[in-house]
């Protein structure tokens, strides 16, 4: 299989210019407004059928349907989704297309970007499976914002495969069916007598006649997309591609240095840009002028827009741009100089404004009875720190702007660039490149706007690449979270009540329309995994969302890591109070439901994988934790503690996951491994804090990342409990890591650490 990405794709997409359309859902056969050069119609089921783009013939597009999105969103939005919310509406343009190319290969164009999660490979597997073609005959192309594909959600939320699975299978099966019908007519046989061979159909046991896809597509006499019940989707037990550890399509270019990322984009005569950054969290720009920067060799243009807080420069080298921006004269109002203690006081989960997100029974009343346990947990600010800092290349020419950028949300970038430049969105083309990591941070699109503004001023292509310190200071962070948990046990050691009070800041709400936050109250991003999923008769979860002077937002797993650290540490504290084995205690409190049964299977799998039933080697201790959502995760950490230095070593991390149908098991395991490293880093090392009005962050010396030396060995098992569709995999395994390590620490030392990260200083304090 080949993959089209970045530079080549940019050229192709230029020829593939399409305008907006006004497609209406559910109008069988209705001709819609022209989609650029494409002629297309919308089937009753929401599939688009039309003429392909340049070099292609027939095209079939599919939406990520509302039901697929709901797999993920329903859990988080619950009943609070306002009726008629535009957030949940289908976009008018589809997010994926299948097209028949002139050489009869099939091209799959996708909006989802490749940031290391292997999505282009997984999606290709789904298409190849239903098309019945060989791997080599599929081309995967990254769509840009002018290719007639729209993704109003961005790439994130571990949603890409889950949301694409059903519509892509149906689109692929539908395309195959359209072609098969035509082939039957052309070859004069029944459809059933045909099978796919190479890039066309042959008669199974008949004459040596064949019909290639392209000639069939060109001659297509009927554009009636098959009804859903007529689509012969392949039964799961006949899958030969889905479920296989297919080698990733992007890997060869990534070991030879050929993969092109936003930071790597180049054009002839390009300049390099840099932008002045606020010195404090609340700083506003009062005045700016070029000052001595004007005299620096190689400086070509300045953009100074005090009203919008923008002062930037374009120069002939990156060093000249960075030197120039540091020499510009800027005057700032620094605002209030915040301290971390003030911020921690803000997220106290008490007082006005709490939103109850779960209430069963009467926890308040029940907490007065039996054995009561109370504990408070804290997780600090954290940075995503993808190793590729934000970067974009913009080329503004003749009122048109093209931007290549490492982004998780090209559609958002397009709109914001148009707004910043004061041009129509149709004049803006945003081309996503490979991402050198995202982890939520690259939903931010400012670097693309900066490059576009500077390019417009300089009259030349401008590349803006942030340096590490800029990236540390100017993105949004995982907010700090405080969790206050109370629980009560009856005489038999069963949990009769849990109350969870959670305080944090905006995560999803930083990026959603304001009306949604007003309606919903609790930020579903910050409160993921805050619910108590165990079978407890009285449970209440209340969340406080406080606006902080620090910009907070998406970070791998959102609130999953902080909340699971708190809840699953607390479950161990309850188990200890009950004198129960932590694994058995969890099993004993699983709900009598399908979800409970799946969680049980996953817990049992991790117990076997980690040898839970036998004592660990001398000097080591184990801890267990789990996470219940669509994707079920259970993890056991095996650690040792150096009581002299206070260092915790995580030696082994065993992880069992049921993420539903697995499209690429090797890719799934890679996601487990990566999430475990993130979790261990957050548990032992990572923290950011505010001092004197700014983040006390500089380069990696002040925010070190986990290295191979601290990395545990990771063993994982994928558990099949019969779920027939894929669930998210890019984030769930991060959840239980913190609690598994903290629980192991208690097993090792008899002490409990409730504040992350578990630094040597905190360990020594706990042991004192």
């Amino acid at each position: 299989m080949t993959q089209e990405q970045s530079r080549n794709q940019a050229v192709e997409a230029q020829a593939d210019s399409t305008g907006a359309n006004n497609g209406e859902e559910g109008a069988e056969g209705a001709e819609s407004a022209p989609l650029g050069k494409r002629r297309w119609r919308l089937s009753r089921r929401g599939f688009l059928i039309g003429m392909g783009a340049a070099g292609a013939s027939l095209a079939v597009g599919a939406y990520f349907g509302r039901p697929a999105l709901h797999l993920y969103m329903a859990e988080n939005l619950a009943a609070s989704e306002p009726a008629g919310s535009s957030f949940m509406q289908l976009d008018s343009d589809p997010p994926l297309w299948l097209e028949v190319l002139e050489d009869s290969r099939i091209r799959l164009s996708v909006v989802k970007v490749e940031m290391g999660q292997g999505v282009h490979t997984s999606i290709a597997q789904i298409a190849v499976e239903e098309l019945g073609i060989s791997w080599a005959d599929l081309v995967v192309a990254q769509a840009d914002t002018t290719s007639g594909l729209v993704d109003g959600f961005g790439t994130g939320g571990s949603l890409s495969v889950a949301a694409s699975y059903d519509p892509l299978r149906k689109a692929a099966a539908g395309l195959r069916s359209l072609l098969q019908r035509e082939a039957a007519a052309e070859l004069g046989v029944s459809e059933a007598a045909l099978r796919v061979e190479g890039r066309g159909f042959v008669v199974a046991d008949g004459p040596a006649a064949r019909a290639d896809f392209y000639s069939l597509a060109a001659a297509l006499s009927s554009w009636d997309f098959p009804e859903e019940e007529q689509l012969a989707l392949k039964p799961a037990d006949e899958f030969t591609v889905i479920g296989q550890p297919v080698a990733r399509v992007d890997v060869p270019d990534k070991v030879t240095g050929q993969a092109v990322y936003g930071y790597d984009m180049r054009m002839p005569e390009m300049l390099y840009g840099a932008v002045a950054r606020p010195p404090t969290l609340e700083a506003t720009l009062l005045n700016a002028s070029p000052g001595e920067a004007e005299a620096i060799e190689g400086v070509e243009a300045f953009v100074i827009d005090v009203e919008n807080g923008f002062a930037g420069v374009a120069a002939r080298s990156r060093s000249a741009a960075w030197a120039a921006v540091n020499s510009m004269e800027t005057e700032w109002d620094e605002g209030h100089l915040w301290q971390q203690e003030e911020i921690d006081a803000l997220i106290e989960p008490a007082g006005e404004g709490g939103v109850t997100i779960q209430r069963e029974g009467n926890a308040e009343a029940a907490l007065g009875k039996g054995t009561t346990v109370l504990a408070t947990y804290y997780t600090p600010f954290a940075v995503q720190a993808p190793l590729e800092a934000p970067a974009a290349l913009a080329d503004f020419q003749d009122g048109q702007v093209r931007v290549w950028v490492s982004t998780q949300f090209q559609e958002r970038a397009k709109g914001q660039i148009a707004e910043a430049l004061g041009v129509e969105t149709e004049t803006v083309q945003v081309v996503p490149t490979y991402l050198g990591g995202g982890f939520g941070s690259k939903l931010d699109t400012r670097v693309a706007i900066e490059a576009a503004r500077l390019s417009k001023a300089a009259g030349a292509p401008v590349h803006v690449g942030w340096d590490r310190v800029e990236a540390m200071h100017n993105g949004y962070l995982r907010p700090p979270t405080k969790n206050v948990l109370s629980g009560a046990l009856d005489e038999s050691g069963r949990i009769i009540a849990v109350e969870h009070l959670q305080g944090s800041s905006d995560v999803a709400f930083s990026f959603l329309p304001g009306f949604l936050s007003l309606v919903m109250g609790a930020d579903f991003g910050a409160t993921i995994a805050a619910r108590v999923e165990y079978d407890v008769p009285n449970r209440t979860v209340t969340a406080w969302r406080r606006t902080l002077p620090v910009w907070t937002g998406w970070w791998r797993g959102l609130g999953l890591f902080p909340n699971t650290f708190a809840v699953e540490s607390f479950i161990d504290e309850l188990a200890a109070a009950a004198g129960a084995d932590p694994l058995q205690f969890r099993l004993d409190h699983l709900p009598e439901s399908r979800a409970g049964a799946r969680m049980r299977a996953v817990l049992e799998a991790v117990a076997e994988l980690s040898d839970w039933g036998r004592p660990p080697a001398a000097g080591r201790a184990r801890g267990i934790a789990c996470h219940m959502s669509n994707t079920m995760v259970a993890e056991v950490a095996e650690i040792s503690v150096d009581e002299t230095t206070g260092e915790i070593s995580v030696h082994e991390l065993a992880c069992a996951v049921d993420c539903g149908l697995v499209v690429n098991p090797d890719g799934a395991k890679a996601q487990i491994e990566g999430n475990v490293m993130w979790g261990v880093g957050s548990t032992l090392i990572e923290q950011a804090y505010v001092k004197d009005g700014r983040l006390e962050l500089n380069n990696f010396e002040s925010y070190p990342l986990l290295t191979m030396r601290e990395a545990p060995n990771v063993r994982s098992v994928l558990v099949d409990t019969g779920i027939k569709t894929p669930y998210g995999m890019g984030e769930p395994p991060i959840g239980p890591v913190g609690a598994a390590v903290a629980n192991a620490f208690t097993a090792a030392t008899g002490r409990r650490i409730r504040t992350l990260p578990m630094t040597p200083a905190r360990v020594l304090e706990a042991l004192a």
């Binding site: 940031m115 290391g116 999660q117 292997g118 080698a247 990733r248 992007d250 890997v251 060869p252 270019d253 990534k254 070991v255 030879t256 240095g257 050929q258 993969a259 092109v260 990322y261 930071y263 790597d264 180049r266 390099y272 080298s317 990156r318 060093s319 720190a385 993808p386 190793l387 590729e388 800092a389 490979y434 991402l435 050198g436 990591g437 995202g438 982890f439 690449g465 340096d467 590490r468 090797d666 890679a670 491994e673 990566g674 999430n675 475990v676 490293m677 993130w678 880093g681 380069n699 990696f700 010396e701 070190p704 990342l705 986990l706 290295t707 191979m708 030396r709 990395a711 060995n713 990771v714």
Partner: protein, 162 residues
């Protein structure tokens, strides 16, 4: 200023204090060498200078003029017909499906190649020590270790021969 990169000579009009990383990327277009931190911590910019793995983000151009510089682009060998033969370390990284986002991988591979050239049969512990200066934010450490050990001709976890 004379520069020898991947066996090719370049004459450049670049300020002598410019860092090698940006010369490779922005002047020569060799963008396989990545910027991660600019202060020598993360290892994404690792290249070989006279066979030794160094952080190109710290290296002023003047210090490497005349030296033999090798980057990720010069690691695989291309024969007369254009056919690419990957370095055993690159092949091992494919075999173990190591990269996720891939941004750190040029640095990881250059670090590993230089290490194995000096220590062809390392113990797992030696490999961990040699590779612990290279960040991988995606967290591919389990596979990096396996791949480097495989490239060294031994399965991960196996003890050193002597």
């Amino acid at each position: 200023m004379e520069l020898n990169v991947n066996g090719r000579s370049y004459t450049l009009d670049v300020p002598a204090e410019e860092r090698l990383l940006w010369v490779l990327r922005d002047w020569l277009g060799l963008t396989g060498t990545k910027y991660g931190c600019g202060v020598g911590i993360c290892g994404a910019c690792t290249v070989h200078i006279n066979g030794a793995a160094v952080r190109s983000c710290l290296m002023p151009l003047a210090a490497v003029s005349g030296a033999e510089i090798r980057t990720i682009e010069g690691l695989a060998e291309r024969d007369g017909g254009g056919e690419l033969t990957l370095h055993p370390v690159q092949q091992a990284f494919i075999d173990h499906q190591v990269p996720q986002c891939g941004w750190c991988m040029s640095g990881q591979i250059m670090q590993a190649v230089s290490f194995l050239e000096r220590n062809p049969l390392p113990s797992e512990e030696e490999t961990v020590r040699a590779m612990s200066g290279n960040y991988c934010r995606c967290g591919c450490y389990v596979r990096i270790l396996q791949a480097v050990q495989q490239a060294a001709g031994r399965a991960a976890g196996e003890e050193a021969a002597t």
